[in-house]
């Protein structure tokens, strides 16, 4: 009897596993560290909003591909006038919003006007700064008039914040996002998970997944067992800490180290003494040992940078050698600046570990050349008010994660308080330049100016530590935008 029972159990198990193997998996659980505050990309800057919604739920006129290139989105094609000021978009037809409303040129006009309006709360309102007006030609054609030619216009329209929304549902997107994408919002168990399901009426290429769940796992100590136990299949960027070797050696998982748009810098208050002196900033640059700082921020995979630019971009130039690590030279420069005995300053650090861990190392490196830093830890809200808004700081460490954000150094009131007319001129020219080669050249020029001015201490590019099931394919390897685009994700068995 006992024997019969075990035979039965074994047969049942064999049957169960074989049928499971026949059908390909169509569900996936993605782990994420931070929960989005809400799900409306046009009303909040949190990266987690886009991580869930970008390309999955919401679409824009254009979209950014995994390689950072601009691809058609809801606009099937476009024409640009000779003076670069008029963009005529031809839209896809037969597109529906998830609530059943038809998508048309009116929705494009509505979305752009809404983002530009006086009472707009779009966190990237600057993306729309060059737009003069939007005209609906017919239901499938829309014309955008610009004030001046803008080189990055099509790229700007591919950002998550430039999502096309419907007037009927726009105000409810925080709780119940309605877009045109291949996945529909299904459920949000607050504090726990967000579930998307396949949109059967999707206008474009069908996605392989039926169901995708984003599970919120705030603690790295919990992320690792969640992966190991199979509860979570993938992390776009996993908080691994020093457990990376353990995961890498496990054949069940694939680890893909990619790059991000996060330039991590030692923010410097350029208008405050003694940082207003070029020699002092150069001295700091010479005193920083990037390799040591990177090693001190587990898992030690950051890529050294010498200016404010992502190494994966074609316009990147390696400027890490501008002021190489040289403590003696740093002391000389301090003496030239009239500070032979060094000086004391504060280092205000936000919560992320790259700042808290990196800050300790930087403080000890600067002490070698006579600069004594008092470390002041701050939480984000406090950091944003004290450092970012009130500019009440000497030095800080933060990763600037917005894509292609070198232009922040030209902002008159930005917290770096950096001002160089030459740099501003390059940025102005760049804004109106559309020729790709010329743009890259200008980007190069801008990077060089910042590096030579030692505008801030350039440290490293944040890595993206992608970890997923070895049988899962189609996840982004790099992060030109920090998103979890699931449109190409599928199981191989």
């Amino acid at each position: 009897m006992k024997l019969l029972k075990s035979v039965l159990v074994a047969t049942a198990l064999a049957l169960a596993t074989s049928t499971a193997a026949m059908a390909q998996r169509t569900d996936v659980v993605i782990g994420m560290v931070l929960e989005p505050p809400h799900l409306d990309p046009t009303a909040g800057a949190a990266a987690a909003i886009k991580e869930v919604g970008y390309a999955n739920v919401f679409e824009g006129l254009t979209r950014i591909g995994p390689d950072g290139s601009v691809q058609p989105g809801l606009a099937e094609s476009w024409e640009i006038s000779d003076d670069g000021k008029v963009y005529t978009f031809k839209l896809h037809t037969g597109v529906k919003f998830h609530d059943g409303a038809d998508f048309s040129a009116e929705d494009v006009k509505f979305s752009i006007d809404r983002a530009m309006a006086e009472d707009s709360v779009n966190p990237q309102k600057g993306l729309y700064s060059a737009i003069q007006s939007v005209e609906v030609v017919d239901s499938a054609t829309v014309v955008v008039n610009l004030k001046h030619p803008q080189g990055a216009f099509l790229w700007n329209m591919g950002w998550g914040e430039a999502a096309i929304v419907s007037p009927a549902s726009a105000d409810g997107n925080k709780e119940r996002p309605i877009g045109t994408g291949p996945f529909k919002f299904d459920n949000w168990a607050k504090g726990s998970s967000i579930t998307l399901v396949k949109n059967p009426d999707y206008w474009g290429e069908e996605v392989a997944l039926d169901r995708a769940e984003f599970r919120i796992i705030p603690d790295s100590a919990a992320a690792i067992p969640a992966l190991l136990s199979g509860d979570v299949h993938a992390f776009s960027n996993m908080p691994v800490g020093d457990a990376l070797p353990q995961i890498e050696s496990d054949p069940r998982f694939k680890v893909v180290i990619g790059s991000t748009e996060g330039e991590t810098v030692l923010s410097t208050n350029n208008k405050k003494e003694p940082f207003d002196k070029l020699e002092v900033r150069q001295a700091i640059a010479h005193a920083l040992n990037r390799e040591e700082i990177i090693q001190g921020v587990p898992p030690g995979l950051g890529v050294p940078i010498g200016s404010h630019f992502a190494p994966h971009h074609p316009a990147y130039i390696d400027l890490t050698g501008t002021y190489p690590y040289d403590p003696e030279k740093a002391k000389e420069l301090l003496a030239q600046a009239g500070l032979p005995d060094g000086f004391s300053a504060t280092l205000k650090l936000p919560p992320p570990s790259y700042a808290r861990d990196g800050g300790q190392i930087i403080a000890s490196q600067l002490r070698q050349v006579g600069i004594n830093l008092e470390i002041i830890p701050l939480e984000w809200a406090d950091w944003l008010s004290q450092v970012f808004t009130d500019k009440n700081y000497d030095l800080s460490i933060v990763s600037h994660v917005e894509p292609m954000d070198i232009g922040i150094y030209a902002r008159p009131d930005y917290y770096f308080q950096y001002e160089n007319p030459e740099f501003n001129a390059v940025m102005e020219e760049l804004e109106v330049t559309t020729d790709e080669a010329k743009r890259n050249e200008l980007y190069g020029k801008a990077q060089t100016i910042l590096a030579q001015d030692a505008a801030v201490g350039f440290l490293f590019q944040l890595p993206k530590i992608g970890v997923w099931d070895a049988k899962l394919e189609g996840m982004w390897e790099n992060w030109p935008l920090s998103v979890a685009d699931l449109t190409k994700v599928h199981w191989t068995e």
């Binding site: 809400h38 909040g44 709360v121 709780e175 796992i217 100590a221 067992p225 969640a226 984000w380």
Partner: protein, 315 residues
């Protein structure tokens, strides 16, 4: 009894009122701009101004305080700045996780602690006492998050019997919901049980030294009967006090365990709300917790009166 209850209720209401003022004005002076946190470092000044207006941050402080208090009296806790849904809904979603978790842990810790405490007291100084109190000592000393991780590795990663964390929601059924709460409840209950066992033991020892216990034994009453019937009942007062405190802690002080198991409980809601400067949510949850502590204390007071009839008269 009526006078006793109404006096307790009155004290409870005053506590709530004082707490509301403290909570509101302390949070008011906390640095940080919720609008800036929401819109981030690239936000234009106009967008920030619109956001502040939307969040209702432009009204004077006193106006906001009284409209908040007034709202709560009619059950309206306001709307979250960040989630933009009613605070009461957010709290309700979390209470259905935190409350069962707290109850399960409390039952578990009581079921372990009281028999162990009585056992140790009855065998004072002997092997059983030394061993059980030694184990309790270890239980107090082990950090509960470490114990939680140990449980995860054994039961989720290695044996794969239970989920490593998360909460499927009660909509997925009672058993999946309970399954998700088993490991966190054990992790929470163990240190609580250790403390409670030690308290039970010392309370029992004190009572066992009383004259009436000796009298009861001398007149030939069975040992077991004396222990459970006469001694335990009198030893319950300090035990109940500790249990009341523990329950209040289990409701909201479990943020670390909630993080290890990524459970959407009240502790994490408060933590998230503080970092996001979602003050109205912080205020709402804290008021709820103050209220629950008041209620738990009231229940404990009533239980005192149940176990000790003298208190019914004197209070």
């Amino acid at each position: 009894m009526i006078a006793f209850l109404s006096k307790r209720l009155g004290i409870g209401l005053v506590t709530l009122l004082v707490a509301s003022a403290v909570v509101f004005f302390v949070l008011e002076i906390l640095p940080g701009d919720p609008a800036l946190l929401m819109l981030g470092m690239n936000a234009t000044p106009e967008a920030l101004a619109s956001m502040r207006e939307q969040m209702g941050l432009n009204d004077p402080v006193l106006v906001r305080y009284f409209s908040w208090i007034g709202g709560m009296l009619v059950g309206d806790f306001g709307r979250s700045f960040t989630y933009s849904s009613p605070v009461i809904d957010l709290i309700a979603e979390r209470v259905v996780v935190s409350l069962p978790l707290a109850i399960i842990s409390l039952i578990l810790s009581t079921a372990i602690a009281i028999p162990v405490g009585i056992f140790a007291a009855a065998r004072r100084g002997r092997m059983g006492d030394t061993v059980s109190m030694g184990v309790a000592q270890v239980g107090v000393a082990i950090p509960n998050f470490w114990f939680a991780l140990l449980l995860v590795y054994v039961f989720a990663v290695w044996l794969r019997l239970l989920p490593s964390g998360g909460f499927p929601g009660w909509g997925a059924g009672v058993w999946p919901g309970l399954k998700a709460l088993i490991l966190p409840a054990i992790a929470l209950a163990l240190p609580q049980a250790a403390i409670l066992a030690r308290v039970t033991r010392s309370a029992m020892l004190e009572v066992l030294g009383e004259d009436y216990i000796r009298t009861a034994r001398a007149k030939g009453m069975p040992r077991r009967y004396v222990l459970w019937r006469h001694a335990l009942r009198n030893a319950m007062i300090p035990v109940l006090t500790i249990m009341g405190l523990q329950f209040a802690f289990l409701l909201a002080g479990t943020i670390i365990i909630e993080n290890v198991f990524y459970l959407p409980g009240l502790g994490r809601l408060v933590f998230q709300a503080i970092t996001q400067r979602d003050l109205i949510v912080v205020e709402g949850v804290i008021m709820l917790l103050v209220a629950s502590v008041v209620v738990v204390n009231l229940v404990v007071d009533i239980l005192y009166a149940v176990v000790d009839p003298r208190l019914r008269v004197s209070a």
